[in-house]
Symmetry: C2
Subunit: 212 residues, 2 copies
């Protein structure tokens, strides 16, 4: 498959890798996932991986004879190059709602709890305190946004890029900092419903882990 299909360089636990994995699955794009262990063996720092992504981060996607980096740029490339089935809502106002949710996660939460920043803290406790604080602030913002836009999904009833951001980030929150989502009832409802969708079940970190 790798010869003609796409190759995803990702890490099973990485929320940004999950965004891309779910987009590939949603659009039925054949791909092979190659694990890059960014935690134990720190393979992102090897010369071999730096040749793929000089930024030493996951994910990277080799597709259409190009190597793409940065998860949201990749997802949008997939949406533009393979528009059906679509991950974008139909109206201008729904698209701005979708992007507000994405940006709250992509800029407001993910970078401030990313495992990569751990090295900048003196102790694990300090890193966890920082990550938890900013995750929970972001969840409050998401709750406000979703209250206005959500149906079964983040924006109405259709799976969009916002859901590809919400599910991995909420999974991180629940498994690492905030097991109880009761302060964020809309986020919680949408997250739980989306976990039943095949696209998230078949790209879930716990599922991917068993296949490594």
């Amino acid at each position: 498959m790798a010869k003609n299909g796409a190759i995803l360089y990702g890490f099973w636990q990485s929320s940004c890798s999950w965004r891309v994995r779910a987009a590939l699955r949603f659009k039925n794009i054949p791909y092979e996932e190659r694990g890059v262990d960014i935690v134990k063996t720190k393979q992102q720092g090897t010369e071999q991986y730096r040749a793929i992504n000089p930024a030493q981060k996951v994910p990277a996607l080799v597709i259409d004879n190009e190597t793409l980096v940065e998860s949201m740029a990749i997802v949008q490339y997939l949406e533009e190059s393979r528009p059906q089935p679509s991950l974008m809502p139909g109206t201008l106002m729904e698209r701005v709602q979708m992007r507000q949710i994405c940006e709250t996660i992509v800029s407001g939460i993910q970078p401030l709890q990313n495992i990569g920043i751990k090295r900048s803290f003196s102790t694990l406790e300090e890193y966890l305190k920082f990550s938890k604080y900013w995750t929970e602030r972001g969840l409050l913002t998401l709750e406000e946004l979703l209250r206005k836009s959500a149906g079964k999904c983040c924006v109405g009833d259709q799976i969009t890029i916002a859901d590809l951001c919400l599910v991995p980030q909420t999974y991180n929150a629940v498994s690492r900092f905030t097991p109880d989502l009761s302060k964020y009832p809309t986020v919680s409802k949408v997250y739980k419903a989306l976990l039943n969708e095949k696209v998230f079940q078949e790209t879930h970190p716990e599922y991917v882990k068993t296949k490594l």
Copy 2:
């Protein structure tokens, strides 16, 4: 102007406010800027501003009878609702290059030097050390990306959303952490050329400050 035009709630020094201000100027959209002091008087925390943006962040833009938040979502809304003059390059590959640059800034640099996170550090020195480290790592990534895509601008010779991210972020770097850009020659060259463009001169923080 406010009655029919747009209202930008921003802060003169905020890089995210500058992104939106430059998009409005580039597209010749009439707007009035209302300053929200997020540093000294912390107006973002007032009830009055929370009614505009519950996330207590700048910018927010009132336009077309809607209040929009999150700078990149706003810029993309302006691009979709007022496509000309365009802030998007013409080809799929240029658009992915543009988005990789945007995401490196929007997720990889801005959140990790944002004044808002200062409260999470015990001392100013710790905050500045953290911000400087992640800014300079991001600049290295930008240098790699721009080496492949830049002409006079981040992607070729046309001003795109990537430039709306690059100029404010590099201005922050230069004025706060990294006065010497010699390690990032392509970033430096593009940044300096863009500072001569009217769209950045007329939306520059130092210019906006004089008008407050």
